[in-house]
Structures are given as C-alpha cells and as structure tokens.
C-alpha cells in the first residue's frame, strides 16, 4: 500500500513540475496535454493495480500486474527513444540543407 502512495506522490510531483513549466511558457499546450495524460494514466494504473492483477490472470498470464506495467513502460520508453532519434536525424538533415544552400549562394 505504502509503495502505491510513494508512487502517487512522485507522479504528483511530476504533474506539479509540469504545471510550473506550462505557467512559465517553457512547454507548449500540446506538450503539456500529452504529459498530463501520460502521468494521469500512470496514476490510474497504480490506483487500479488489483484490477490489472485480475486482468493479467484473465488473460492467462502468470505474475503480478505490476510486472506487466513495467514491461509496457519499457516498451513505451524504447518507442519514444526511437521516435526522438528519428526526429534528430530529420533535424540534422535540415541543418545540412540550410548549410549547403548558404554555402552555394556565397
């Protein structure tokens, strides 16, 4: 039980930081919405751990629901890392295009 409380406190801390960043206009409205939804889902998952446990059993899987939450979290992290990498590659390509255009104009 106390682990869930600690996890919820951490999530509340992140949401509080998110609100501050939004207030200081450091993140866009879309970014704020995305992360708010993300942390809200995480909080709901923690509150509904017993339900997830039941769901895991119904799906015929063994182990606690929290384990599967962690697996999903790792998968999401890998996907986000991959997306970030792709974005960096695209930005690099744009920088090259700009550098080249400027060099050839000189």
């Amino acid at each position: 039980m106390w682990q869930q409380i600690i996890a919820l406190i951490i999530i509340l801390f992140f949401i509080w930081r998110l609100a501050i960043q939004k207030k200081k206009h450091k993140i866009t409205k879309n970014e704020f919405s995305f992360w708010l939804v993300f942390w809200s889902i995480a909080a709901l998952a923690i509150l509904g751990l017993k339900f997830i446990d039941k769901l895991v059993i119904q799906l015929g899987l063994s182990g606690a629901g929290i384990n599967y939450l962690l697996y999903v979290a790792v998968l999401i992290l890998f996907y986000m890392l991959f997306r970030t990498r792709l974005k960096i590659v695209k930005i690099e390509r744009d920088i090259t295009r700009l550098t080249r255009d400027e060099a050839l104009k000189e």
Binding site: L86, K90, R93, I95, T96, T99, R100, E102, A103, L104
Partner: protein, 221 residues
C-alpha cells in the same frame, strides 16, 4: 575534351590541402574544395593553391560536403565528377586511371579499389577484419560484389551525376553511392588505386555507424 571536376571535402586539412590541390589541378578543369567547417586555415590554403572553395559554416560530414561539391560541379557543367580525399592518401596520377573508362565510354561510374593493387599496405585490422565484414554485409543485404565496398575514390559521368543525390551526411555515403549505382544498373568498373595510409580511417565503431546510418536513411524515406 571532357570537363573534369574534382571534389575534395576538407576538414582541418591545412597540412595536406595545398600539395593535394596543386597536384590534382593540372588534371582537371575545376578543383572544388568543400571546406566542411574547418577551424584552421584550410580555406586560405586551398584558395592559394587555385581551388574553388565552398564553405560549410558548420561541419556536416563528408557525405554532405561531397553532395555540395557535386551540385557546384553540375552547375559549372562538369562532364566527369571525381571524388578525392584531402589528406593526401590518394595519388593524383590515379585520377587518369579512374576517369579513363568513362572517357572511353566503357563505364558510367568507376570505383578505385585498394584491394586490386598489390602495392597497398593496409593496416592489418582493416584488411583482415573490417573490410571482410563490410564485403559480407554488402553481399548479404544488397548483393554487391565489389572488391572495395568502402572506396572513397570514384568518378562518374553526367548521367550518374544528374540522378545522384547523396543523402547520408556521414561516411555511409560510400555504400549509398555503390547501392545507388547497382540499383540504377549503371555500368560499373573497378580500377586498382594506390593508397598511402597516414591515418587509420574508419574503425570497427565507424563501420557499425555506417550500417546504422543506412538503416535510419531507409526508415526516414
């Protein structure tokens, strides 16, 4: 007579750029040095040696510099474009060898091969580990059977230049150009070239980076 443009990408090559440009200049109509964000006096020395210098304000990599040079060469109306290194590892006299099959209309693109010449003393690791791996990867993924899949010394005609757009900014451009030539069924030829190693060049990590860059390029497309 064919108009030849030699493209030399250069990053902090103040020690070698002057003699390299001076040696290749009599063999070409234009020598284009793409100064890829150098912080030394590469630009001044290349200009002093008689090259046409294009400046990248920031370092973008060898592939990006070659693409910039190719565009300038096409704008000038080059019939043959030659890619050459700035560090003095290639011999200027090999430029004729690389261009001749194109002039004789026997090939559209010619790659200089370090492995067809017995006089080259390649570093052991490169000769026995890195290059065999590169060859296997090239054969396995793209069915390419060249003796030197990472050759940076090449020449191609206008037909190839008009279609070629180098998209890999880094060192993966070598593989990219070879794959492009095979896909478009150009007449490909390899000629032996001499290489004098001053530096090791691509290591195993660099090789893995090339594979990673090629994969990302395909994903982004």
């Amino acid at each position: 007579m064919a108009n030849i443009a030699i493209i030399i990408p250069a990053l902090n090559e103040s020690r070698s750029i002057f003699p390299v440009v001076s040696e290749v200049k009599p063999l070409a109509t234009w020598v284009i040095v793409v100064n890829d964000g150098s912080t030394d006096n590469t630009q001044e020395l290349a200009q002093k040696a008689g090259a046409l210098v294009i400046n990248h304000k920031t370092n973008r990599g060898q592939g990006a510099a070659l693409e910039t040079g190719d565009r300038k060469a096409k704008e000038l109306g080059a019939d043959i474009i030659v890619h050459f290194d700035a560090d003095g590892q290639f011999l200027a006299t090999d430029i004729r060898k690389v261009c001749q099959p194109i002039i004789d209309n026997q090939a559209d693109i010619v790659f200089g091969s370090r492995f067809l010449s017995s006089s080259n003393e390649l570093p052991w690791l490169k000769k026995n580990i890195i290059m065999p791996i590169a060859k296997i990867v090239s054969r396995l993924f793209w069915d390419i059977r060249l003796s030197d899949p990472q050759s940076g010394f090449r020449a191609f005609n206008k037909k190839v230049a008009d279609k070629l757009v180098i998209e890999n900014d880094g060192m993966a451009h070598c593989s990219e150009i070879i794959i492009f030539a095979h896909k478009n069924k150009y007449r490909i030829k390899e000629v032996p070239i001499t290489v004098i190693y001053h530096r090791f060049g691509q290591n195993l990590g660099g090789g893995l980076r090339i594979i990673k860059d090629l994969i990302y390029k395909n994903i982004i497309q």
